[in-house]
Amino acid sequence: MALTPNDVADLARLARIELTDDELELLAPQLDVILESVAHVADVAADDIPPTSHALPLTNVFRPDVVRPSLPREDVLAGAPAAEQDRFRVPRILGEEG
């Protein structure tokens, strides 16, 4: 499949990790080897096999619709990199709005 540094850059962008050119050059062949190795999952014919996403067959785990106390706001904001007006302050968002 041969991942190029460009492919890795696209994936990194999707994953919001800004990689340096050096990292891209290093990662591409490493990821290639790993992907080649994991691609062996395709060797086993499993067309009629259902996928397992949960190890144990639990269903219908619900909680009652009951309000429980929220965290104190000062605890909520204590870990924030920046806060203002009782809200989390974040850098400007390139928005959806036109």
Binding site: V41, A42, I49, H54, R63, L71, P81
Partner: protein, 519 residues
Amino acid sequence: MSTSSTDTLHATAVELADRIATGQQSAVEIARAHLERIEAVEPSVHAFLHVDGARALEAAAAVDAKRGRGEALGPLAGVPLALKDVLTMTGAPTTCGSRILQGWHPPYNATVTQRLLDADLVILGKTNLDEFAMGSSTENSAYGPTHNPWDLDRIPGGSGGGSAAALAAFEAPLSIGTDTGGSIRQPASVTGTVGVKPTYGGTSRYGLVALASSLDQPGPCARTVLDAALLHQVIAGHDPRDSTSIDAPVPDVVSAARSGDVAGMRIGVVKELSGEGYAPGVEQRFHESVQLLSSLGAEIVEVSCPHFVYALPAYYLILPSEASSNLAKFDAMRFGLRVGDDGRLDAEQVMGATRQAGFGPEVKRRIIIGTYALSSGYYDAYYGQAQKVRTLISRDFEAAFAQTDVLISPSTPTTAFRLGEKVDDPLAMYMNDLCTIPSNLAGNASASFPVGLAPQDGLPVGLQVMAPPLADDRLYRVGAALERALTAQWGGPLLAQIPPLPVTSAEPVEGRVVAGALR
């Protein structure tokens, strides 16, 4: 180390709890002995990222006071414990061994943490791990590797190298690990300690910072089988805050650990987990153990689990896929590190810069692989197919358990390798988890028990026991049988053979916080 201190440090959790309950030794004295030991050996072992001596002594004093008032104490009340730094605890940082969480104080306790506190265990601090539990050597910690107390040039296993090394270095008699692909069992194996991965859903994941949600499971680590069972009993059981938690009674692991009777038990040796790639010393100790179990009355059969060979590739698709999503929340917006917020960069750029600076190479590798594997064009071939392999592995287990009570294999193909030996070869590193991964994919219970030292290098070898889901007690039964017979053979516990560690002179520890994360 004074004799009485050695006696305290080498005592089992059961013995310590008994001394506290009978007033023979105070919890404070026991905590202080361990804190002093931590001071003395941490410079060479580096098992901890954070130690809070004042808090530990306060907790110990509370246990002593409770006893003084004549209140009933739990079976492990006052016993010191080391908590893997991937479980949240208020009043202490949770870093997950990552720069991106440096200094983050969670506002809530993990369920496991809460149960430990409720059971009056004395939490000494948080232990080192591979960043976000990604690794098999603890070398991926952003705060430096942990060293194997058997040989400081060697890895203590991973990701829970800190929790295992703390036991082997006599810094704590109990610790908590988490196991996604072997992170409890592989470190236990290479440090000569006991590590148990409970049935998936047997212990709560609430407050365990997720690596791969469908695989992660917290579990007990200890130096003896009974200690592990008692700790298992404390932390296990249904948690309504974890949707994947099993609402059923905890298997009676403590009775099983006390019994250690394997007569009539059918034990399957997994054919696929041996041969090429397995160190001779590992195979030798494993085969001796098989014979030992046979001599104790167990019936040994060979079983085949043909799809286990696909476990590793399936695991290295499922894990990064889930991890890539689980780790998306580390984005510099609400908590943790923020890099590049100069008023010019937008949120997206700050996220990218922070994740670049905050994540180490292995974390980046796995996030990128997971991002790739979940992409629409590749989902079916990778993630989808890996989930099918998971089904096949579960079926292998079901078939094997139809004719056996437990399965056994070596815990790891080799003994502890040297620090730095495999850091540049991810695939070689991944091979360490060959034997342990199938149980994470299938969700069944699994454990590693020490079965001796490999003749070639004098390093510990572990034997893995795998039991069906919710039959965790069988692990302890087999573990206890081995422990009893081997301890008799060796004339004492395996850890009695560990070479002494270099020791720096102890300073008073009261009120001192060792902030390993700042080193």
